[in-house]
């Protein structure tokens, strides 16, 4: 493999556009004659719409239409499930009936000549409801846990139940054991760019300039909802201002934008407000977990029990990897995992960076830390004593696993040896200082992808895939891959993405873009070179290529990334403020295509983990399901001053099995492990074990 550019810290090719305001995000597309749509959201958490009085709104200047279930056309809503939609249940049918399933559900849309007029009219709508009290707290007694349909049976991707040995019996007789409950908060992705769609119909064809991490799915979903052929929908999404999973699904506002545009016969721009993003664009579900560990006095695990519950909506069964890492992280003869979901009166959750792993590994890695103190064994040494030879949950070898090399490198860089193991023993002026660590993991995913390569007469090349770049650097890394595959300088390769009429790509999530899209581009480049060699006269000449994982190899190996994350916190001895003084992550993620971009992706994920540990929590009012802090002032996220020293590193790891490029992906794992490392550091600093996220000053003071 030619690696002149792959592996090099190339500057991002979209940098210039982004620092000059030239990058165009969905809401930046201004069409001639377009009008504005503003969604009206339910102000009750459960019930039914009794009446909508739109007289006052309709009289306001500029108002073109008020659309609700009373006058909206019945949409086809043909069955369609994309790779990221919940396997069980049916998506919200928007503006199709009087039922309110959750607080903030769209119940009407107002279209007006200007944004201000549409907002004013939306506020003037008078809607009455017959409201019932919603169930929004998964720990409350009025909720019932269920086994998700898609998690039933041993072949399920996220099985509801797994077991090897007899974990409960082994726990009962273990010489040393810990058994604890963990609670992680509901979070919202909050990318900087709010969701937005500009919709324009030309006859029975619709074009959507839309924020999405999965353009071909948005195309297929809108086609299914409107009952039109897939090729009649064109989705254009050249730049995505952050996503972290929220734009993987095509949410109801995209349908509303298209519906409004068709109703008024003009292009419509619809941008969600920050508040509206909290209602209808998914969230990381709250988790409630129990982890119990049994061990011998010399620190060999004899039992792991991991029981987890996550939220879902009443109408779809969202499941994620809550207990998925537990089976293979450590060597242990007796392991039992249980995963259930709790249907609530909320919108459906969806994947948020490190979906499931972030919460599940929080519980498991805090429990490992607790066990290390119980045993009096250094937490890194405890993990070393339980390092497995193979994936004991499947009996397969790992394609590569660098967990202990990550710990060794991290311990050295972090100065772990300077840590006094006794809790509350280290101090710096007013602060109690604590150091903690935790493991991270994420699977190496791969999805079939196609790519198109075109050689032009001037010696340049164009590459096209319906992929996305929500920020990590797809534009840049794919240009590197193509330049190497074609033997061209970087400047001679133009990579385009974000159009549904390009060859299809998988969701830009699950850390699979580099592997899947990169491999397809290599194949397309090889194909076009071959075609060009056969036919030296014809230019431009183009070819397509595709990539899929060899099923035989996939069946032979267990494929995961691993990492070790370290945190040092300072806790004010009087007022309990919690500061992350420094954090360091070391990852074994296969080949790193662009270290300059990869390091940034990792530190960004680590900051997401700091937010999860100490700040981020979407709060619901139990009386009516209202989202109490659905705005950026009260939904706290780390700002610059919350971060001090952050470092990410990679260990050299060659994995010939995962995919032709040998890449494992980075986006997801970078968030996993940070929260438990911080919680463990807080215990080390204070001697107080805090098992609920986010950890706040009050928790430290009242513990």
């Amino acid at each position: 493999m030619n690696t002149q550019f792959v592996g090099q810290p190339i500057r991002r090719v979209d940098g210039r556009l982004k620092v000059t305001g030239g990058a165009r995000y969905a809401a930046d597309f201004n069409l001639d004659e377009h009008v504005y749509a503003v969604i009206v959201n339910a102000t009750v958490g459960l019930g039914r719409i009794v009446s909508i009085d739109q007289a006052a709104a309709t009289r306001l200047p500029g108002v073109i239409a008020v659309i609700s279930h009373l006058n909206a056309p019945r949409l086809a809503y043909h069955p369609h499930k994309g790779a990221i939609d919940p396997a069980t249940g049916e998506r919200l049918h928007v503006l199709q009936g009087d039922q309110v399933r959750f607080y903030g559900q769209p119940v009407a849309v107002v279209v007006a000549d200007t944004l201000d007029q549409a907002e004013r009219a939306a506020a003037a709508l008078s809607i009455t409801y017959a409201a019932k009290r919603p169930a929004v707290d998964p720990s409350a007694s009025d909720t019932t846990e269920i086994m998700a349909e898609a998690s039933k049976g041993p072949k399920a991707y996220y099985p509801a139940d797994t077991a090897r040995g007899d974990a409960d019996a082994a726990l009962a007789t273990a010489p040393v054991r810990i058994d604890a409950f963990y609670d992680t908060a509901r979070e919202n992705h909050n990318p900087m760019e709010p969701h937005a769609t500009v919709a324009r119909w030309d006859g029975d064809r619709v074009t959507l300039w839309s924020k999405t991490q999965f353009v071909v799915n948005e195309q297929a979903e809108i086609a299914a909802i409107f009952g039109i052929p897939t090729e009649n929908v064109q989705v254009i999404s050249p730049f995505v201002g952050g996503g972290f999973g929220t734009t993987l699904r095509t949410w109801s506002h995209v349908t509303i934008a298209a519906l409004a545009a068709r109703q008024v016969g003009r292009p419509v721009k619809l941008a969600l407000t920050r508040k509206q993003m909290f209602f209808t664009t998914g969230h990381r579900p709250r988790s409630l977990q129990r982890v119990a560990l049994g061990a011998t006095p010399d620190g060999k695990l004899t039992s792991i029990v991991h029981e987890g519950r996550g939220e879902t909506s009443r109408y779809e069964e969202f499941i994620e990897a809550l207990t998925a890492g537990t089976g293979f992280m450590y060597s242990c003869p007796n392991v039992r995992t249980q995963y259930r979901i709790v249907p609530l009166d909320t919108g459906t959750p969806n994947h948020m960076r490190g979906p499931g792993e972030a919460q599940g590994m929080f519980a498991l890695e805090c429990a490992m830390d607790e066990l290390s103190y119980e045993l009096g064994i250094d937490p890194i040494e405890l993990r070393r004593r339980n390092e497995p030879e193979i994936d004991e949950s499947t009996g397969k070898p790992f394609s590569s696993r660098s967990l202990m090399p990550c710990y060794d490198r991290g311990a050295e860089l972090f100065g772990w040896a300077q840590r006094n193991p006794a809790p509350r023993s280290m101090r710096d002026d007013r602060e109690y200082v604590g150091m903690g660590c935790a493991s991270a993991t994420y699977p190496v995913l791969f999805s079939p992808t196609r790519a198109r390569a075109r050689l032009l007469a001037d010696g340049t090349a164009e590459i096209e895939v319906a992929a996305s770049d929500m920020g990590p650097g797809t534009y840049t890394s794919m240009t590197q891959v193509a330049a190497d595959a074609l033997g061209l300088p970087l400047d001679n390769v133009r990579f385009s993405l974000g159009r549904s009429d390009f060859p299809p790509a998988p969701p830009h999530g699950g850390s699979q873009t580099m592997a899947s899209v990169g491999s397809a581009i290599r194949a397309a480049c090889a194909a076009v070179l071959e075609a060009a060699a056969r036919n030296r006269e014809v230019r431009p000449i183009e070819a397509e290529g595709s990539a899929q994982r060899d099923p035989e190899v996939a069946a032979r190996f267990s494929m995961h990334s691993f990492g070790a994350v370290f945190a040092e916190v300072g806790i004010d001895s009087d007022v309990g403020t919690i500061r992350v003084r420094r954090a360091l992550g070391v990852y074994g993620a296969g080949r790193i295509v662009n270290p300059r971009l990869a390091l940034s992706q990792c530190t960004g994920g680590m900051v997401g983990g700091i937010g999860m540990a100490l700040m981020e929590r979407t709060m619901l009012d139990a009386r009516d399901g209202r989202l109490v802090n659905a705005h950026m002032a009260d939904y706290l996220m780390p700002v610059n001053l919350d971060i001090d020293r952050l470092e990410a590193h990679f260990v050299d790891e060659e994995d010939p099995h995962v995919n032709p490029l040998g890449v494992k992906g980075l986006g997801e794992i970078a968030l996993v492990g940070m929260a438990p490392a911080i919680a463990n550091a807080i215990f080390h600093a204070t001697g107080t074990r805090l098992r609920n996220l986010p950890i706040s000053i009050e928790n430290v003071l009242t513990a």
Binding site: R11, R12, D14, G15, L17, K18, V19, T20, G21, G22, A23, Y25, A27, D28, N30, T114, L115, D116, Q117, E119, R120, N190, P191, M192, E193, P194, F239, V240, G241, G242, F244, A271, T273, R274, M470, G471, P472, G473, R596, L597, S600, Q601, C602, T603, G604, G605, V607, G608, H631, M632, A633, M637, P638, V639, N640, L641, D642, I643, R645, L646
Partner: protein
Amino acid sequence: MSDTAQSFPTRVDISLTVNGEPVDARVDVSRHLVDFLRLDLGLTGAHAGCEHGVCGACTLQVDGEIVRGCLMLAAQLDGAEVWTVEGLTETGALADLQAAFVERNALQCGFCTPGMLFAAADILAQGGQPSRVAIREHISGNYCRCTGYEAVVDAIETVAGARARGEEVSA
């Protein structure tokens, strides 16, 4: 509608300069500055992120001060001098910062970047070499959800040093 409401103007005329060009407009009194720029003038470099002054994505310059485009009304701008990222790109006022942001990869999705550049330019305009903590504090009103902030501080620190030494930063 009451008499008071009827006598209160719903639209006002404003004359201002935007990126050095004179602009005359009749605007809705409720029109926010960021929407005026983005929707009426097509200057989409300032981004609306939170609509209440927290995230900083709409930060731009009015009469030499950085402001939140979502917290000012267009109606307040009569006689004002407004600069957006498009304009300062053309004048070259942000060139060294822009180059340093690209060089240090101080951006990922780029949505926060134009606002971040204005906040960065503002602390650099105070002169000298600000400490990393001072930089962090000054741009703590500009959220970034992608990079982890470290590179942003590095880039601003680099430009401050280069400016203090009279050097050029190039990408």
